[in-house]
Subunit: 316 residues, 2 copies
Amino acid sequence: MPPVPRDARPGRVLLTGASGFIGRHALAPLLAAGHEVHALGSAPPSDSDEGDVRWHRVDLLDAGATDSFVARLRPELLLHLAWDVTPGRFWTAPGNVRWVEASLALMRAFVDAGGRRAVLAGTCAEYDWQALAAGESVRCLEGLTPLVPRTLYGACKHATHLVTAGLAAEQGVELAWGRIFHLYGPGEQPGRLVPAIARPLLAGESVAASDGAQVRDFSHVRDVADGFVALLDSHVQGAVNVASGEGVTVREVVELIAAETGGRELIRWGEIERAPGEPETLVAEVTRLHEEVGFKPAIGLAEGLRESVEFWRAAG
Amino acid sequence: MPPVPRDARPGRVLLTGASGFIGRHALAPLLAAGHEVHALGSAPPSDSDEGDVRWHRVDLLDAGATDSFVARLRPELLLHLAWDVTPGRFWTAPGNVRWVEASLALMRAFVDAGGRRAVLAGTCAEYDWQALAAGESVRCLEGLTPLVPRTLYGACKHATHLVTAGLAAEQGVELAWGRIFHLYGPGEQPGRLVPAIARPLLAGESVAASDGAQVRDFSHVRDVADGFVALLDSHVQGAVNVASGEGVTVREVVELIAAETGGRELIRWGEIERAPGEPETLVAEVTRLHEEVGFKPAIGLAEGLRESVEFWRAAG
């Protein structure tokens, strides 16, 4: 398909999760695209240089508060990134259910307030990992790879897409759903892969790792934030993988980290069991992102990991 | 698989949608099975002979009210039938989204209050009608026919199943999901097929019909209510088609009605266009219902339609 130009006109954007890992990197590209940016997040970053962002405090888990806020603001565009993704817990946490409810209430309010285009955050965990494990699909392709989530988190995200897309279609609102694969970047939560490896190695301590043979699709958080803003500024609808499209083993990632930190011999390979049910290979097909949205990630893995290590070195 | 005995012990049941088409027929079999029945519905039927039913008034669209009611009642079993299914509107109505939210809040409250088994109402509209139309599947088979709803109603029901089943599995609560096909029976809403045909014919008026060639799976509402209670009283989990398993053309149904009412010549065949996207054939595979739940429908189509026509004749 021919590339769709980023021709959507700027407007009043409501960004949720604006203090989160992706959200805080979405502020600058949203402003750069000319949008009037209204941000919901747990806290405006104190060192923010995004002076034009208007911050609001609303508890999205309170449907009534969401509704009256959105009715007053009347955003034309919605970029909904908020969700509880506490590392180690979010795959199974019952709190996922409340984020489905919150997302549906938000989307209802947005539609009722005259919104014209919404982009929401999905996940690679919506795809059928058992089909991937069985080799029935090589890469996750929107519209083709079966959607059979095997985790509560994946089920809740997929359910949110089903309902919001159905509502948007009935109400004449555009909706796109960006599926996120594996993320890394400066400032991520300490329980995630890169800091879990980098911080002990920087301290000269040994660290347990899995066998590292699983193949994953890692994206730098700024690329993903830029990709979401590009998706918001397009007219592409439906599911779009917002990912690198490049498979890399976890072992390669860990070794790239160790190349920056030193201490490669401190890695205790194979000591962490992999979670049952995870596929060997989980890599996105990114043709829609490249050709329809017209967006390609810019940050190479070695360069991005170097930046992450520097962040954790500076953090001490 | 061997039949599962209906060995679940009676308990405190919360029935939602108890004034609805299926729900009001679920009261008697629930009481007969020895349950303590707590009913939520728009109104207790004034002519009810179900004297042991305890009726409550709770607005399920108010998550806070639902939560405090369920926390007080502490039901062991949940049979959730409530939803807005106004004929002619419910396939596309935005209100479906609020019923997803209401159902998730109800399920969260039930789990938090120590519930042990929930049965919720799904729909044949969760199955991929395009795959059925393309002849890829002959009958709708749980766990095999792809789940790609093509309507907002189907999307909302399927999303509710994804989330509630995921939550139940994580929290150690049993959950079954009964998929309803086509229903008829005395007292159904006047906009539905049987009264839409029977009432004009009883009045000697002509009536428009589709070409009638589509094959559907019709169940009497009492059979479906009994099937849901049997499902509640089993330990079967996951999706179960609660249907007849017998395909019949809409023309056959209309002609059976006309055989009771007279006025077969008043039917203007082919005057109503069928909705685009509906499959030619939509029939349930019912092996799970028969063999695992141990339930078979009892009311034949001719007998059931005769009862329906008598209802509308008496209603005038």
